[in-house]
């Protein structure tokens, strides 16, 4: 028996799907809408680009905070990706004492509440007499990004055929050549998703950054937080729209990039 089309359209799973999508995207929609509002207040008074003009001409503090966020995100994600990938390859490839412990300990920063990591890093840095600033934020972000990269790369490594590596060694490649020519290209999708996850996590982190930041190292989330006291300015909405667009473009091109790799 075939159900009529309109019943299909209102099936349970579709409703859940629609509600979920709405729940996820409505706030973003409101944000985008109000970035074009003429007035500052919550009521709609007319279309205007004044907040975008203000964003690009008269918001140097905001851009400095954004710049700090970008520097920290890219550099910490990069370093975390390199260390995390090498760590995952090592743990997967070699057998050594404490290997099991190493795997478990690496996940610890993922499970620990951020506030504990933040406080302990702060105590650590002040104990060593390291001056708080962009560098300490960078170190902190590398430390919490590491397990994510490690996990993603490890998952990818566990899934591919070990005999390829044996074949590579069999055909005369050195250990290093095998790493560069065989293992890395094959795990590239895992590495790239690890890198992107790390960038995202770093960009949005508030709690840990709050503790380890210092003079001249205000990141975007910290800036937005202190700005809330004066009501969130629509300039921040405008910046969010620009960032959403940037993310969409990045995600789209990355997808094509990853597909190409996977196809190879």
């Amino acid at each position: 028996m075939k159900k009529p089309d309109f019943i299909k359209a209102f099936s349970f799973s579709r409703t859940v799907y629609a509600v979920t999508i709405m729940f996820l995207f409505m706030p973003l929609l409101v944000l985008v809408l109000y970035s074009f509002n003429e007035s500052r207040s919550g009521s709609w008074t007319g279309f205007s680009l004044r907040w975008y003009v203000k964003l690009f001409t008269d918001s140097s503090d905001l851009w400095r905070a954004f710049g700090n966020s970008a520097i920290v995100a890219l550099s910490s994600a990069l370093v975390a990706t390199v260390i995390g990938t090498l760590g995952a390859v090592g743990v997967n490839w070699y057998r050594f004492r404490l290997r099991g412990y190493l795997r478990t300990i690496t996940f610890l920063p993922m499970i620990l509440p951020e506030i504990i990591i933040g406080v302990s890093l702060l105590v650590f840095f002040s104990g060593l007499g390291i001056r708080l600033g962009l560098f300490t934020v960078f170190v902190a972000h590398v430390s919490f990004n590491l397990p994510f990269v490690f996990l993603l790369v490890l998952a990818r490594l566990e899934e591919f055929d070990f005999s390829i590596i044996e074949a590579s060694r069999d055909l005369g490649a050195t250990e290093l050549q095998t790493l560069w020519r065989v293992i890395l290209p094959l795990t590239m999708p895992g590495i790239m998703s690890g890198f992107l996850t790390a960038v995202t996590l770093s960009l949005e982190d508030f709690v840990i950054t709050f503790f380890v930041t210092g003079p001249g190292a205000t990141t975007l989330p910290l800036y937005v937080y202190s700005a809330i006291r004066f009501g969130v300015s629509p300039v921040i909405n405008a910046l969010s729209v620009v960032m959403i667009l940037g993310t969409v473009v990045l995600a789209w091109s990355m997808r094509r990039f990853l597909k190409n790799i996977a196809a190879k």
Binding site: S75, S126, S226, R229
Partner: protein, 343 residues
Amino acid sequence: MKRKYFTAIAAACVLVLLGSCSGSKDRLYLYNWIYYIPEDVIEDFQKESGIRVVVDSYASNEEMYNKLLAGGKGYDIVVPSGDYVSIMIAGGMLQRLDMGKIPNYANLDASALNRIRFDTGNRFSIPFMMGAAGVSVNKTKVSGYEHSWNIFERNDLNGRMTMLDDMREILGAALKYLGYSVNDSDPAHLEEARLVVEEWKPNLVKFDAESFARGFAGGEFWVVQGYAENVYIEYEPSRYSEIDFFFPKEGMPMYMDSFCILKDAENVEAAYKFINFMLRPDIAARVSDYLMLPSPNVPARALMTVTPNYQFEDLAKGEFKEDLGAQTLLLYNEVWRRIRVGN
């Protein structure tokens, strides 16, 4: 090809990180309230003096104080409010100032300076801005009220009023309403104050310091306690006449935000130059115009082009919040906890 790209990013990032660690000689690190000094004023100072100013912002005294206490080194100037000035003096965090380097100090209103108790004689702090939280009423919705704290007793405005989520502001308001000092340390007086707040509380939607102004502008709340600048910024100038902002006749707690130079400041000379620059009448007037607040800087008042949200004289009935001392602070905390959480 891909690898080269990554190496380039890595190299760039490392360079920037290294660059940010060195060369702090001709820089001034300012740790200030957010949106307190307009960016073009900072830029003018940079142009005039050749000193680069690096600004970081905080949203509360507690945030700033705890950051510094936890080892946040490297800042030169901070801008604490009165009570935190005395806390930081007691903690040995501030430098004794050399007034010879701040000739523009003479521009400040002596009547305001004389009322300062948190740093009598301004040995460690230079007043910057002075103000107070008051009550804003939406005139299109509410009428027949006095300019008094008793507006929060009105049952008919139940669910239309908010007060700040701030212990000193709420207890200070209640203490003033009863005719006591905002810094009163008598437990019996505080108990009376608590009962007053308990009477207000059922009429309030919430204690809120962040989004009340938006709710007020949107017509959701009709009577809010808060800072005038937060309320006015949500309004278009054409609708300013809808707002009645007043300081209750009984008086209110008041703040004085002051420039202080930290003991471990590295660029002391630059800090003096900056403070003196900020006290110049034309600069003080620009800041006051931007904030729409009256200036404690006497010659600056004539140079202002914007009508402030209230007049300097209105602050006469206010009383500066002072440091309570550890013992009394515990008492306040307990009373506040009972108000917020219940018994």
